[in-house]
Symmetry: C2
Subunit: 348 residues, 2 copies
């Protein structure tokens, strides 16, 4: 298996990308293509005392870099020799099995959609992060790729994440919850009512284990394996989880350092807090899958360090091995909604 | 000042309501009307060893109770002799200055809107909780009363919460942030684009201190005093904060009890954690204001204990004293948006 890595994307690129990719090669046994300015990549290797490329690791020259200030919708086209475009083109052409990038989410989404292309029948690609919930993990789909959604998009997000939860998280019959502002079917806006009806039909047909509407607090207590959301609400939830964790860890630190007694106490519980910190550390997951694209594309966090890059590459490996894309292609007929005027209906 | 309290609403009513109201009477010096089944209320007083009503506390008979199973939209009308309807009617008729209830949010909203009525010119009432953020507090408006919103509603929510932040939180020039999935003006859906334009106009006219779009994580780090949201996104944010806090406190507890060393450590830092727990405890705030109604209406949490009821009554007292409703009435002309066909424009 060969993973193509955008070595120039992210706040700590190229060093973190190079180091993380070499770690992933060693630990997870995947071949690697590092895409970027060859000279810069060689400099990085010198910095970490690697004089020769290990077997199974290669460099691919790309002279340009997509910057944060570039227009995300057009960057991949305008900068044809960017690490992002060159890397995605390789995956599209079958010269690699998956693409990992910590660069601009918008540029990656545009490139994935317009260059690599969506799976036939899928209306929109979705960002599907693995988030920590009490007692385990859940998928949140979509979390920001699509600010405006139709009911068909949300039905498709449910299927995409359902197969991902089965194949990658190993959940046999993933519990699908529709993120809403109350549990009753009448809750929420008209989009939620339409999606509730579509997911109920999918449940009755034995296709999805739809458990109904779920509120954000219940989702965080582990009430669903898949949380289906439009990209706006999903992003609000994801960023609120991030913000709450940061806020609470800061308050915790303040409490720990408030006096001598608490400082001693903090020393004694430090080790036991390790697991909680690890659970809340985004670099442990490392990467978020763009579901619905015809090849595995993984978005690493912009602030990824080497450890996060290494984990993002592991996510890419799992994705390639999962058979997820074939699953989606096989079931695409279930994910279609016929739109008649203003009304949305399932095909009969 | 006289606060009317729905003594029958909430999971721990009527005992928690009676006890909390008597505490508020004693501590905060407000007169109280307890609305509910007189016999049940007298039983509660016996339970807490009060044989005679203190001066300034009275009972008002209401034979019915709005239950969770009642249709929220019609409950206040169908149960004319419910504590909710009788209490709101008193406030409407000037027999009390504010109404506090821990009953059904939907029934309270419907009653407030249709019986007490909105301030003239206000399109929708909004729930505006005070939420903890790093270094202080912020207002989140709306957080669930309106799942579907127009840009005018959101402009009005910004003004309502702006005056509330000034008058009740004492912030001189509240920083108004529009909850969005990115900071740039181009981020989000078409509703956010419209509201961004309206808030920018209000800023340029010197009416609001609009600080732009704000992401949920930045809002939780204290980036705005007022977070403007549609009721769907606002509710997702609020419930995610609640869920994250619960989740992390559970994980913290797990870490504390994991071994002997950590247990000793936990004992030593217990006192220092008090402030953090207090900050995250919803009963400390106690009540959420329904802004935009012509009289002060405060929603207490359904699970309110006596302490939460007492604090909700304090919120009602602050609201009455604030002069907030007069503020809104004076500035109502600034909050109007003329709708021309599909396009939303400010009046010239």
């Amino acid at each position: 298996m060969k993973i193509v890595v955008d070595a120039m994307g992210g706040d700590h690129a190229p060093l973190a990308a190079v180091q993380g990719a070499l770690d992933a090669h060693r630990i997870h046994g995947v071949d690697i293509v590092l895409v970027g300015r060859t000279e810069a990549l060689q400099d990085c290797m010198k910095q970490i005392n690697i004089t020769e490329l290990p077997a199974g690791v290669e460099l691919k020259e790309a002279t340009e870099v997509v910057e944060i200030c570039d227009d995300p919708a057009t960057a991949f086209k305008k900068k044809k020799d960017s690490s992002l475009t060159v890397g995605m083109q390789m995956v599209k052409d079958g010269e690699g099995d998956a693409f990992v990038s910590a660069g601009s989410t918008g540029a990656l989404l545009a490139g994935a959609t317009l260059l690599v292309k969506r799976i036939r029948g899928i209306r929109r690609a979705a960002l599907c992060p693995i988030i920590p919930v009490f007692g385990g993990k859940a998928l949140l789909c979509d979390c920001g790729a699509n600010a405006e959604c139709t009911s068909e998009y949300l039905l498709q997000f449910a299927y995409l994440a359902n197969f991902y939860a089965k194949r990658v998280l190993g959940v046999e019959s993933p519990r699908i919850g529709l993120l809403n502002i109350g549990a009753e079917p009448s809750k929420g806006d008209s989009l939620r009512h339409e999606v509730f009806a579509l997911l109920t039909e999918a449940k009755e047909a034995g296709r999805l284990n739809f458990v109904g509407n779920i509120e954000a607090n219940d989702a965080l207590m582990g009430g669903a394996d898949v949380i289906v959301a439009d990209g706006f609400a999903g992003n609000i939830m994801l960023k609120t989880v991030e913000g709450s964790a940061k806020f609470m860890l800061k308050e915790l630190k303040k409490a720990f350092y408030s006096n001598t007694k608490s400082k001693i106490g903090a020393l004694l519980i430090k080790d036991s807090l390790g697991e909680m910190r690890k659970m809340l550390d985004p670099s442990e997951v490392g990467g978020t899958a763009f579901l619905g694209i015809s090849k595995p594309i993984i978005k690493a966090h912009g602030s990824s360090d080497a450890h996060a890059f290494c984990n993002a590459i592991l996510r890419a490996k799992e994705y390639v091995e999962s058979g997820l894309i074939a699953d989606i292609e096989t079931h695409i007929a279930d994910m279609k909604v016929e739109t008649i005027g203003e009304k949305t209906q399932m095909p009969s």
